[in-house]
Amino acid sequence: MRLAFLLNGEPFETDAPGGVLLLDLIRDCGLRGTREGCGVGVCGACTVLVDGDPVSSCIYLAGCAQGKEVWTVEGIARREPDLVEAFIEHEGLQCGACTPGQLVMAAALRARGKDPGEAATRDFLAGNLCRCTGYRSIVESVRAALGS
């Protein structure tokens, strides 16, 4: 199929198999920040935004992104460097494997409004698994970014 959508703010066009998953398409473009973790849509390491909605790109059919706006961590980091700053300042990462997904979720949450509080932030991040930190610093980083 002929696919055309906005990728990190720029027009993107390609011929792709009908069953291609968005994660594979993104990584084949050289955007390696979006990662395959669990491969079943549970861990969130593959999170990208499609028209502002966070999706598990590892199980998202690329065809469904037709004509939409797709943002990966690379684009979000460029567009919202203060999000990255918040994670650095509040130590919201250790190994970094889950971090792109956490950043993308933070961007999605921020687009919905101000800091919704501890419980709602945790709920929103409940599908983004981290094995290193125990989450306290991630939640603090996200809330700091939203509060600012």
């Binding site: 669990c38 491969g39 079943v40 390491a45 494997a97 983004n128 930190t133 125990g134």
Partner: protein
């Protein structure tokens, strides 16, 4: 292409369709590669199975193609004919005479610690202590408890799966990029497996997306090298997560029987521990010389126990080979001992905090295994935890419980090297180990900034390949901060001596390090719903015995992340091993804690300790994940009056203990 049966003889491999499939470069089996064995200590793991398969998930054939999807599609067409043989699926069964042999002659493997006279499926057996004296003292004790504690299999749960790239130069030099935490050991392990000199192998730097003990073996690297040799192309292998969960090197399952006694004043008299663990089909994923899990042999180490004896056996079974996970053997040993200690306290009518007060090691006393530490701050750490403890309010219907557990972890150090190079206004520090998320590189940066009196931003830390620095023992074993701190101090000193303008390279040996241990006391607060058995862990309070803390933020993250891992082990994680296979084979089935599952973390640092090295540090990486399960189980017992003795603690287990007539 992996085995679908736990044990069998390979009769035929039909790869005709795969060989001609689109994009396929080649298909290779054990016949092509030959019997090449790798391992971290025992070399018993074949690169590809030859003639027999020993576990569900064992690598049988490899398809190399231009893309991952082409390789996977073609691999699905490979048909492996296996004559199934009866498997040994449980450790207990495997060690009985007449059980199916996982290996014909395991004592012949390089590095094996068993002999022909041992039970034929024994991987290792470690005995410490004086069992006769223990029996006598137990017989004379006023109170004795005798219970068996059990553990399901779990997984390290790193978010980045196992991954490897290998190329071979025309002159035969091997290059490897791998998610692996010990590049120099990897090089040595590859050299042994491939029968080539280590200098002809170069391990290149990569960042590692979480290790937790699961990325210290050669894993797929020998296969990638062999495939690179045969195809003349660089070869990459990235495991799918379900492969990682079910066929990489997850945690040993097992059981520990603890008998522990005390006198009328609650003073411990004797301890007998008998551990039997399942090591799976290959012993090669365990690195220590005894091929055991050292945490098991340390059971009870935080206490004064006049007589102690432990026997730890690990068996071969036809299941996935098991490996290390953060403080190997310790969470299990501490769960067993601390639970038994609480149960003993109950028998003796003594408060759980009080029985610990009476028996925790004091400075100068030897632990049950004959080790004496520079200082033993268990008591201060316990008191700090109790002082900080504050019970939380609960909604109606929930029962509140509190549980305490103690662990002490010796601080090691290791051999490592470091190079400093001037770079503009700052310096570059070339280091030999990867960053796996623990903050090792930060230790170097902050240490150098301090030693050289410059801004941390002017220090660039860069991992280099094994060709560029002499040695490193690898990440793990709670040795990184101590080893690196020493390297930093010596390198900085040499750099300054050279006028801060010349590159310097240092190699540091452990040398004479004081015997230092760090205590961690955790208090768990839980809420139990007796009608459903549900356990909500409200808070884990960790009191940690510290000396100098190099980076307080990173230090705190290790404590919180460790407690999260401890909570997962306690309440959630089970690979569900049945009939020789892993049933919870994705992260939807094998659950690790999420933001809404984890309890609140409280950390109390008990300052004033004395550590190792120029900075005087104590390890923290394998500390707070260890006592958590014990603290939670004791809290559940406090809340509901029932003791769960097998992990994970599930609502159903609590319910079954409370309502034994209801569940069929």
């Amino acid at each position: 292409m992996r085995s679908q049966v736990p044990r069998g003889r390979i009769v035929a491999i039909d790869s005709r369709e795969a060989r001609t499939a689109a994009g396929v470069t080649g298909v290779f089996t054990g016949r092509d590669i030959g019997l090449k064995l790798y391992g971290r200590r025992v070399r018993d793991a074949p690169v590809l199975a030859v003639d027999e398969v020993r576990f569900v998930g064992e690598r049988v054939a490899a398809v190399v193609a231009e893309s991952r999807s082409a390789a996977e599609k073609a691999a699905a067409t490979v048909v492996v004919g296996v004559e199934e043989l009866p498997p040994a699926l449980e450790a207990e069964q495997a060690l009985t005479p007449g059980s199916p042999r996982v290996h014909e002659t395991p004592w012949t493997y390089p590095g094996a610690v068993v002999s022909e006279a041992d039970p034929h499926n024994l991987q290792s057996r470690v005995c410490h202590g004086r069992p006769d004296e223990v029996e006598q003292r137990l017989a004379e004790s006023r109170h004795v408890v005798d219970h068996v504690y059990r553990f399901a299999s779990g997984h390290q749960g790193y978010i980045e799966p196992q991954t490897c790239v290998a190329t071979v130069d025309p002159d035969g030099t091997v290059h490897v990029w791998m998610a692996n935490k010990s590049p120099y050991r990897l090089r040595a392990q590859l050299a042994a497996c491939l029968d080539m000199p280590p200098e002809r192998i170069e391990i290149h730097p990569v960042a590692v997306g979480g290790d937790f003990g699961g990325k210290g073996s050669p894993m797929d690297a020998p296969l990638c090298v062999e495939l690179a040799r045969r195809t003349g192309r660089p070869v990459k292998l990235v495991q799918r997560y379900d492969e990682d969960l079910s066929s990489a090197n997850p945690r040993h399952s097992g059981r520990i029987r603890v008998r522990v006694g005390c006198d009328g004043d609650g003073r411990l008299t004797a301890l007998a521990a008998d551990a039997l663990f399942d090591g799976g089909a290959y012993a090669g994923f365990k690195p220590i010389p005894t091929v055991s899990l050292h945490g098991l042999a340390d059971i009870g180490s935080s206490y004064r126990i006049p007589a102690a004896a432990v026997e730890a056996r690990i068996a071969y079974t036809n299941t996935v080979p098991r490996g290390h996970m953060r403080a190997p053997g310790a969470p299990e040993a501490v769960f067993a001992f601390e639970s038994a200690l609480d149960e003993l306290a109950g028998e003796a009518g003594i408060d759980p905090a009080e029985i610990r007060r009476r028996n925790l090691l004091r400075t100068g006393e030897a632990n049950p295994w004959g080790e004496t530490w520079l200082e033993s701050r268990g008591l201060e750490t316990l008191e700090a935890a109790l002082m900080a403890y504050c019970p939380l309010d609960l909604e109606g219907g929930w029962r509140h419980g509190r549980g305490i557990a103690v662990y002490d972890r010796p601080t090691s150090t290791g051999k490592t090297s470091l190079r400093l190079l001037p770079s503009g206004e700052g310096i570059v520090a070339e280091v030999p180990m990867p960053e796996t998320g623990t903050g090792a590189h930060t230790v170097v940066r902050d240490g150098l900034a301090r030693e050289l009196a410059i801004e941390p931003g002017l220090v660039e830390v860069r991992q280099v390949s094994t060709a560029a620095l002499p040695h490193d023992d690898g990440v793990g074993g709670s040795r990184v901060t101590a080893a690196l701190s020493k390297a930093v101090a010596e390198a900085a000193s040499a750099f300054i001596d050279g006028g801060s303008s010349e590159a310097v390279t240092v190699v540091v040996e452990p040398g004479d390090t004081p015997q230092v241990t760090a205590f961690c006391v955790q208090i768990a607060q839980v809420a139990v719903d007796p009608q459903s058995g549900q356990v909500r862990v409200l808070e884990i309070l960790s009191a940690v015995d510290v000396a100098e803390v190099v980076n307080p933020h990173a230090h705190r993250l290790q404590i919180e992340g460790g407690a999260a891992m401890g909570y997962g082990l306690a309440c959630l994680e089970d690979l569900v091993m049945r009939d020789g296979r892993v049933w919870a084979a994705n992260l939807g089935g094998f659950r690790i804690p999420s933001t809404v599952d984890v309890p609140a973390w409280r950390t109390v640092l008990v300052e004033g300790g004395s550590g190792v090295g120029a900075l005087g540090v104590k390890s923290v990486g394998e500390l707070s994940n260890v006592p958590t399960a014990a603290a939670i189980a004791s809290a559940v017992a406090d809340a509901a009056g029932v003791r769960v003795r097998d992990l994970p603690i599930t609502a159903e287990k609590v319910y079954a203990l409370l309502h034994s007539e209801d569940v069929s």
